[in-house]
């Protein structure tokens, strides 16, 4: 039979964003100690409280051990062999986007994120983070008219120290885990966002993270606060150059939703995944957590994880306020030698709290995909409800799917539902499509997109289209 498809035959994939921007970079010396932390803090002209916090985090970090419980495998990381700060050299802080280095603007253009005012994406405000610093934030003034603060984290520390002081570490304390402690000590930039009482943010806010410098880790921090009755939808995208080495990305994201506030947080993560033999790629070790502090508040995480050599992240919700809602919608794809251990934690503390978990794991090549989730119903969480659904899809027979759902219930009124499935893209399914005139590659893409539909419909429109395309590219070559 001519050209019969062989779904076990796996070839390479194309990574579109693998270029390097040639730009002069300023770094601090390699390695980590108190001196380095003081240097980073000084470069950012931080107030004293910030430096103190960093040092406390560092002192705690050195007492901690790297976690080994995740279902991922990698050689030991030498934390003294990483640059903790790298930034494009700037003569002075650019006051407007026109003053930003054209090389940088071009980089973002190549990535499909125009930053120049006349080319801005309508309806999306962008904070562009390049290695350790934010290089531009669009629509800032327009948002300020509504009282919305959207800026780089460094700027927030300087301009809004009270808000930062009040909420920084309130959801993810530096004692939380090894990578969160490391991040707290050395974080360099990220986005800050505050939506005032009763304001519905009229556009999507987004941060685009780009790693450029070699041997450098990116440690950014995002803090989003939605005050009473506020609403915000936030997007995050990530890419990095193709390199043989592994680079560490250890971010922390904290969300705080007050009474009746809603935060929707969407991620399309496309860090460099390594080549088809598993060389290189980003270690994406991230702590993301939201706190539904107020009554009737809602936090919704949607993630599409197609990149990184290793992904370790569990966007979680602490449902403190009565009637608050937490949601987690996830698509994680591992191809070639990628590994992902991802999922969520839903901690029900308030009464009538609800949570929904929909996780779709796709494994191809030698990819290993683990869902790990915890649903915890505390004593006082009267009438809590959870619905969880974890589906795994396997392409070929060298990959793996693993599911570890943990459930802890301490209140008898809780209602829990859990569904799980594992399926394999069958030759029969592909043949059925082919017999109707659709080629094998398009068939796989169609089947996978169908599998992910429940999650994609949670993404903002433009992102959903992007995610579908990304999934197609990531699976390129997974049918022979």
């Amino acid at each position: 039979m001519a050209n019969a498809p062989n779904i076990e035959e796996l070839a390479g994939r194309e990574y579109k964003y693998g270029f390097v921007t040639r730009i002069e970079t300023e770094t601090v010396p390699k390695g980590l100690n108190e001196e380095i932390i003081r240097m980073i803090s000084a470069k950012k002209e931080e107030p004293e409280f910030m430096l103190e916090w960093r040092l406390q985090a560092y002192r705690h970090w050195i007492t901690m051990k790297e976690p080994t419980w995740a279902n991922v495998h990698y050689p030991p990381i030498d934390y003294q062999d990483i640059y903790y700060y790298a930034a494009p050299k700037l003569k002075s802080r650019p006051k407007s986007i026109d003053e930003v280095d054209p090389e940088l603007l071009e980089t973002y253009e190549k990535l499909g994120i125009p930053l120049r005012e006349r080319e801005l994406l309508a309806g999306v405000a962008v904070d562009a983070v390049f290695d350790s610093i934010s290089v531009a934030t669009t629509f800032k003034e327009k948002l300020a008219e509504l009282g919305i603060i959207f800026c780089s984290f460094s700027e927030a520390v300087r301009e809004h120290p009270d808000l930062v002081r009040r909420y920084l570490g309130s959801v993810v304390p530096y004692t939380d885990n090894f990578f969160a402690a490391l991040n707290s000590a050395v974080f360099s930039d990220g986005s800050f966002c505050y939506i005032p009482r009763g304001v519905r943010c009229p556009m999507e806010l987004s941060t685009y993270f780009r790693i450029n410098a070699a041997q450098t880790g990116q440690f950014e921090r995002t803090l989003i606060i939605a005050d009473e009755g506020a609403y915000v939808s936030y997007l995050e995208g990530c890419t990095a150059p193709v390199r043989d080495e592994n680079q560490l990305h250890a971010a922390v994201v904290e969300l705080v939703a007050l009474d009746n506030a809603t935060i929707k947080y969407s991620t399309v993560q496309n860090w460099y995944p390594g080549d088809k033999e598993g060389r290189g790629g980003i270690y994406n070790f991230v702590t993301k957590r939201g706190k539904c502090l107020g009554v009737n508040s809602r936090i919704s995480w949607t993630q599409v994880e197609t990149g990184s050599a290793i992904t370790w992240k569990y966007p979680s919700c602490i449902l403190l306020g009565d009637n608050s809602t937490g949601e987690f919608y996830s698509v994680a794809l591992t191809n070639n030698y990628q590994q992902a251990d991802t999922g969520t934690k839903m901690i029900h503390i308030g009464r009538n709290t609800r949570s929904t978990i929909v996780s779709k794991g796709i494994s191809a090549g030698h990819g290993q995909n683990t869902y790990r989730g915890l649903v915890k119903i505390m004593k006082g969480a009267q009438n809590a409800r959870n619905f969880s659904r974890c589906d795994s899809l396997l392409i070929g027979d060298k990959c793996g799917a693993h599911t570890f759902p943990y459930i802890e219930v301490r209140n008898r009124t809780a209602q829990m539902e859990h569904e799980a499935s594992t399926s394999k893209i069958g030759e029969e399914q592909i043949f059925y499509c082919q017999q109707r005139g659709i080629d094998a590659e398009a068939a796989v893409s169609m089947i996978v997109n169908g599998f992910c539909k429940e999650v994609f419909k949670e993404l903002p429109m433009e992102f959903a289209v992007e995610a579908q395309k990304l999934l197609g590219v990531s699976l390129e070559g997974s049918v022979g």
Partner: protein
């Protein structure tokens, strides 16, 4: 339209078809009958290009071209349609999207403009009437949660939309109650045309009460042992497959 010459094929190293000769002309409806394991479904899958069904000898020409050289999707685009015995479920992919993608792939291949969603919907609505299908099915996922009857009707509906030159219907009658069978037969009959051929693969004569074939073939142990007019089907029904010469005594069970 279709010429099969001394076709031998094997599955997992076991030869199932031991030399099939068959010629189907435009406008004709052929029925291929035979007991379980005689190779009927294997023949259908070989013609459609299913992986794992290996042709070891012989030739198949479709409109003068070597069919065996073409990948399955090209055969489909050239106008071969296989109605599946067990239609496959594709969760999350709507019938509408699936069929529009398929139709446009076929239209592109033939140098025609692609249909947009609106034109496609109009076409689909019209074709659904053929098999009395509910319009809601268009928005449901391909075959997901369909009853046996709905799946078979949906196959005929797909055939009506894709307008093949040669339709091979593999056990389309299996699992259908009499009402559903009539509806399916009605749909098939409505599609008979001088420039279209059909091959009905079936175990029972029952279907042939509603779709009257021009030629009936009896397939036994991987060979066509007898061909005749529509009355052959009735005779078979009455006397059983053992009646056919070289039939029962040579039959051997074949795993399917």
């Amino acid at each position: 339209m279709l010429k099969i010459k001394d076709l031998h094929a094997e599955v997992e190293g076991v030869e199932i078809l031991h030399g099939i000769d068959l010629e189907v002309n435009a406008g004709e409806v052929h029925a291929i009958m035979g007991p379980n394991g005689s190779g009927k479904s294997t023949l259908a899958k070989v013609l459609a290009g299913r992986e794992g069904y290996r042709v070891t000898a012989g030739a198949v020409l479709f409109e003068g071209r070597n069919l065996l050289d073409m990948p399955p999707e090209e055969r489909a685009r050239e106008g071969i349609f296989l109605g599946f015995q067990y239609p496959v479920e594709i969760p999350g992919v709507s019938n509408m999207y699936f069929l529009k993608t398929a139709l446009n792939a076929i239209r592109r291949h033939r140098g025609l403009d692609e249909l947009d969603a609106i034109d496609f919907l109009a076409l689909a609505r019209q074709k659904m009437k053929l098999v009395e299908m509910d319009e809601n099915l268009l928005n449901r996922a391909v075959n997901e949660g369909f009853s046996g009857g709905e799946k078979k009707r949906s196959e005929i509906f797909q055939m009506a939309v894709l307008e093949p030159k040669l339709a091979i219907l593999d056990e389309t009658d299996s699992g259908l109650d009499i009402d559903a069978l009539k509806i399916v037969a009605q749909g098939v009959n409505a599609m008979r045309r001088p420039d279209r051929a059909m091959i009905l693969v079936t175990h029972y004569q029952r279907l042939l009460n509603y779709i009257v074939p021009d030629v009936v073939h009896v397939l036994l142990d991987g060979r066509i042992v007898k061909s005749g007019g529509k009355e052959l089907a009735l005779e078979l029904e009455e006397k059983g497959y053992g009646w056919v010469p070289n039939g029962a005594e040579k039959r051997q069970p074949v795993a399917r």
